[in-house]
Symmetry: none
Subunit: 271 residues, 2 copies
């Protein structure tokens, strides 16, 4: 394989693989190897427990160095998804949240479809021991769940990455950058967004923070012990809206207007 340019084998625009607070370097390395097996190259790592770089990760990558070397580090999950348009959260069990659930095969088809529309996707993978927190999941648009034996459902981190990569690769050469244009018929279906684009996660989180600030001021997010669950619930609701960047501007305008409502003189209105 000497002399092979591995990057050329990567699927352009493939989903970002985002490892949230991974604990073992070995698992990071094996995930990188699994990505390389299926032409994925964009790894993002949120606050790895043992720091970075990690020699165990490099060893376990078994030669997938370009994935490890190119990995980007983030302090928080929110920062790691800020530039993405659509985010999946992987989980082995159904959470008590109202959220779209997709299999790996369904998810890669959606990711490819969005890629054709110049929208970038990412997939969150949780900590080995405890998975993703509900706050991580509240940053995602949908849940990704592999069909597994319900009596023995826990997948190793790298194996979860592997299944996703495998399904992605199975989409075939269609998904390669310089390949023939495809999926055109598909591009006509699905959510139509004429004249705008999906909000990035950075824009969405900016709106969330705006709303939550105002709701803190108004006393809605009380008592304090209930605040985290209320915030997650509201974030999940607005995520399901799949807001465009124009929607985000409208929503921020709505909030600002409601908060300042009392400043307006109302002809014949309530005081």
């Amino acid at each position: 394989m000497a002399g092979t340019d591995h990057r050329r084998e990567s699927v352009e625009g493939g989903p970002a693989i985002i490892l949230v607070e991974p604990q073992l370097g070995m698992n990071i390395g094996m995930a990188a190897r699994a990505m390389a097996n299926f032409g994925l190259s964009e790894m993002r790592i949120v606050a790895p427990r043992d720091g970075w770089p990690n020699i165990d990760a490099s060893k376990a990558a078994s030669g997938a160095d370009w994935v490890i070397d190119g990995a980007k580090l983030y302090d928080t999950t929110a920062e790691a998804v800020a530039d993405l348009h659509f985010v999946y959260a992987t989980t082995a069990r159904i959470r008590d949240m109202v959220k779209q659930v997709e299999t790996p095969a369904e998810a890669v088809a959606s990711i490819k479809h969005r890629l054709d529309l110049d929208q970038k996707s990412g997939i969150l993978f949780g900590r080995e021991r405890t998975g993703l927190t509900n706050d991580d999941i509240a940053l995602a648009d949908a849940i990704l769940m592999a069909p597994v034996n319900p009596a023995f459902a826990s997948l190793n981190l790298a194996q979860a990455v592997l299944l996703l990569g495998y399904e992605w690769f199975k989409l075939g050469p269609l998904s390669y950058g310089d390949g023939a244009p495809t999926g055109e018929a598909l591009a006509e279906t699905g959510l139509r967004m004429p004249g705008t684009r999906p909000a990035t996660k950075g824009e969405v989180v900016g709106f969330f923070e705006h709303l939550e600030r105002e709701l803190d001021d108004s006393g809605f997010l009380r008592p304090p012990e209930k605040r985290p669950a209320m915030v997650r619930n509201i974030r999940n609701m607005f995520h399901r809206m799949a807001p465009t960047e124009q929607d985000i501007r409208t929503l921020r305008g709505v909030i600002a207007s409601l908060v300042r409502q009392h400043l307006r003189p109302k002809p014949g209105g309530k005081p």
Copy 2:
């Protein structure tokens, strides 16, 4: 999971997973775990390098003990396949042999088909370092080859087992013996709504009218000639949220709270 009889979750007649001279106990254990993830339980091991039983294998199985404990030992590959009707050999590269080549998805369909005809199948997986010998492969009817990045094709032993198991499980409840509750994970995709129900259109419109009344008061829906388009736009956004009845109550609470925000004393806040 205490008390669950994992064997009942196994796919009856699933293919035998045959590890030929595996080197690392850890890989045997991880292969067992991958089998358990997808309802496979029949492991056969040909001349494991470090003997048997192997404590590393048991550890790495992460609870898939019934697979490890039930594994059968053989001295030679020929003995391990003697009772089988059809055998696949997994390999990462095309050998100089005239042999049918199938993907995991094709192979599991063939295996299922043969199972319906009471024919039993098995799949050979080679040594970690060197794979299967040509003599091993000569015992097989067909080659099993996962679609992988040609520039980075080597799959870890357990990962190769995982992909096969995954495809097997994806065949669905058809492949389960006793009609046990299966494919449940699959059936649970789509929008999940635990503990609540979609809002009725009456509830949704009630929320719209509430919001629009407040936005009229705050002067947001101006000028008048633009009001109809703005209202339609906002209604479309919230419709995409597919709100539950609980969501509608939350949203109405949010609006009421924002509008009354100025009535709250803010410790150290803006006037």
